[in-house]
């Protein structure tokens, strides 16, 4: 019997018992569908975890000035006054893997608005700061490059500051006094909540770094430069580019120590990513169980089919079918079942993940890998569980098969 004939014969045999064939396939359909859907959900979860981590700033690099050494005594990171505004501009201009750069300096002071006052930190930053921190303006506007150039007396308030100074009114357009310097409020930041250390990130005022340097702290060096890499994967490269650039700019040669330190948060990112990968694997393994159960369903039905069609097997053998012809026939039938079930399962899995992402609002991702994996697995299941019944059929004695009632 040649390939096409065997295939046609298998289709015909399955057609004769449509309901049973369908129910058998249902196991595989559900299995494959579940594997695809679960992998899609898992990968969607992985994606949203990555997104959220990115919003925490995993592609953020913070450059501190190096530690000061006096004799054998190291005073601690940030004690040196080596980072300048020009360093920040140079990083922006010359490091291709750097997306945004913001100088960062800080002053503390008492802030007064009307009859209320509040002690808080004033962060002097560039206009890219919000992009780097993935932060939004809730009302009003952020200050502009123009404001930075002119060291304009403008600022935006964090929600905590806003709530304390303007409990009942809109702060945008109002003027506050920061250590006796009058500053106009241009906007209010969106609430960001606590950071990993439990600090209130909203208890802050952002002002142009030039304003803070010139009018509030009068200290010409930057506390740090905050930088975001073009993507989380580019962090290493960006870090190297910045190191090379700053060493060159600061004229550090050979084995001499850097006069700055660069920190990143990639450890946090990789931990979170591996957690969500474990989640994906877990979901997929649960789904594979249903695929396995589907395979057992195939074996069950094929065994019934072999018993029920013992006479047919006898007839085929009596006209010259060899054991391997019968083996092939039943194996192909099992394979066709799992193949059709697999294809239908892929359709249902894709549709299912679309529906879930539509209803629950979760992101889902269907990858070629998950389709190939589940489809390949369903074929293996068909072969594996089809083999035993097929072999049982092929081992029958022709006369016993013919006499079977």
């Amino acid at each position: 019997m040649k390939g096409l004939n065997i295939l046609l014969a298998a289709f015909r045999a399955l057609q004769r018992n449509k309901l049973r064939s369908f129910l058998t396939m249902l196991g595989i359909i559900i299995g494959v569908g579940a594997v695809i859907t679960m992998l899609a959900i898992g990968q969607g979860a992985e994606y949203s975890v990555k997104e959220q981590i990115a919003s925490l700033g995993t592609n953020v690099l913070i450059i501190f000035p190096g530690s000061q050494q006096q004799g054998g005594l190291k005073v601690g990171a940030g004690s040196m006054t080596t980072l300048t505004q020009e360093d920040a501009l140079a990083i922006q201009a010359e490091c291709p893997q750097v997306a945004f750069v913001s100088p960062d300096t800080r002053a503390n002071g008492q802030v007064i608005a009307g009859n209320l006052n509040w002690a808080t930190g004033i962060e002097g930053v560039g206009t890219d700061y919000l992009q780097i921190r993935v932060w939004d303006i809730q009302s009003g506007n952020f200050f502009t490059d123009q404001d930075v150039k002119a060291a304009a007396k403008v600022c935006v308030l964090g929600t905590t500051v806003s709530n304390n100074l303007f409990p009942d009114s809109d702060p945008v357009g109002q003027t506050i006094r920061i250590t006796n310097v009058p500053v106009k409020v241009t906007g209010v930041l969106a609430a960001k909540g606590q950071n990993a250390m439990g600090q209130d990130q909203d208890d802050i005022i952002l002002a142009p770094y030039t304003t803070v340097l010139d009018r509030l702290s009068r200290f010409p060096y930057l506390r740090e430069i905050i930088v975001s890499a073009t993507s989380a994967n580019d962090i290493e490269l960006a870090q190297k580019q910045i190191t090379d650039l700053l060493r060159m700019r600061h004229k550090i040669v050979g084995l001499n120590d850097d006069d700055f330190t660069i920190r990143n948060q990639s450890d946090l990112a990789s931990a979170a990513t591996s957690t969500s990968q474990i989640l994906t694997i877990l979901l997929a393994s649960i789904a594979s169980v249903s695929l396995l159960v589907g395979g057992i369903g195939i074996m069950n039905i094929m065994l019934v089919s072999v018993t029920e069609r013992t006479r047919e097997i006898g007839i085929r053998m009596s006209v010259g079918a060899r054991g391997k012809d019968i083996l092939t026939q039943f194996l192909i039938e099992a394979l066709v079942l799992s193949l059709i079930g697999g294809i239908t399962g892929i359709i249902f899995g894709v549709a299912g993940s679309k529906i879930i992402s539509g209803l629950a609002g979760w992101p889902t991702f269907i990858t070629a890998f998950s389709i190939i994996l589940s489809f390949g697995f369903s074929i293996l299941v068909g072969l594996f569980f089809g083999f035993y019944p097929a072999r049982k059929a092929s081992m029958l004695n022709p006369i016993d098969a013919l006499r079977y009632e």
Partner: protein
């Protein structure tokens, strides 16, 4: 069971006689002698639980080419067991069976399948057609297992169906055919591979007397065309259409007689139809 092949008489070289599946049996092969079947001291023992049932107790028989043999006997006489062994559906416990110069006893399962496919056409009492499969596809079935091309398969099957007078009904399913027609499909299936021998196990057992004679007419016609036929029956009037009568009793051959003047099925049919006419009048 094939340990003492060398003891077989008539000097058949068992080495050359043994066939392997895939070897070509060309119709032009010159027979060593005119014996199609040579059976010597065939025994078959079944184990039914703890009891040993001796179905065959030493049967020896030669069948020549173009013979038409009827095997008779009461039920339990071993005739069906004998037939199944002839048809390579079952293996003997002891003794030798040489079919067309091939020592069948020493063949593997696959080689036996090849013999069933190429050398033997089997017709059963219960027709044994595949249900929900057309007459044509039923007849094509043996050709599926020897890699005949699709075109040739269809041609040969239609030819075989013509020989049994069913060319009008090739696309009918078994449940759309009468018993006689179903048996003719089964005969066409037996003929489609041009077998050396047609074996029929009670082919008329499920048919009424007129249809039985119609089936016997087909067998007689095939026999006239040179096909060897062995049929098992317990109906003496059916046996009268055969040229040789072998009677089994208790697993042995009781008698083996030539029927010099077999009945002509075509004439018997004429008589029946004239009786039918009288009844109608």
């Amino acid at each position: 069971m094939d340990a003492n092949i060398s003891s077989v008489a008539d000097g058949i070289n068992t080495d050359t006689a043994k066939v392997s599946a895939g070897e070509n049996f060309s119709p032009g092969q010159v027979p060593v002698n005119n014996d199609l079947i040579k059976i010597d001291q065939l025994e078959k023992t079944y184990a039914m639980g703890d009891v040993q049932v001796h179905a065959l107790r030493g049967v020896s028989l030669n069948v020549f080419r173009e013979e038409f043999v009827a095997i008779m006997g009461a039920s339990g006489s071993g005739k069906s067991t004998f037939m199944n062994i002839l048809g390579c559906l079952d293996k003997p416990t002891n003794g030798t069976y040489i079919l067309d110069n091939i020592n069948v006893g020493s063949l593997s399962r696959d080689e036996l399948a090849f013999i069933r496919n190429k050398k033997i056409g089997f017709v059963f009492q219960g027709f044994n057609l595949l249900s929900r499969t057309t007459a044509l596809e039923n007849v094509e079935l043996p050709l599926f297992y020897n890699s005949t091309s699709t075109k040739l398969r269809k041609e040969k099957s239609i030819d075989a169906l013509k020989k049994v007078g069913l060319e009008e009904r090739i696309y009918h399913y078994p449940n759309q055919l009468s018993g006689g027609q179903q048996q003719r499909v089964a005969i066409a299936r037996a003929l489609v591979n041009d077998p050396s021998i047609v074996l029929a196990d009670e082919p008329t057992g499920n048919l009424d007397s007129k249809t039985s004679i119609e089936v016997m007419e087909i067998f007689q016609k095939l026999n006239e065309q040179g096909i060897t036929i062995i049929l098992v029956t317990h109906e003496p009037d059916i046996a009268l259409f055969a040229k040789r009568h072998i009677v089994f009793r208790d697993g042995k051959i009781k008698s083996d007689l030539l029927n010099a003047v077999p009945n002509k099925a075509s004439e018997a049919l004429k008589t029946i139809s004239s009786i039918d006419d009288e009844v109608k009048l």
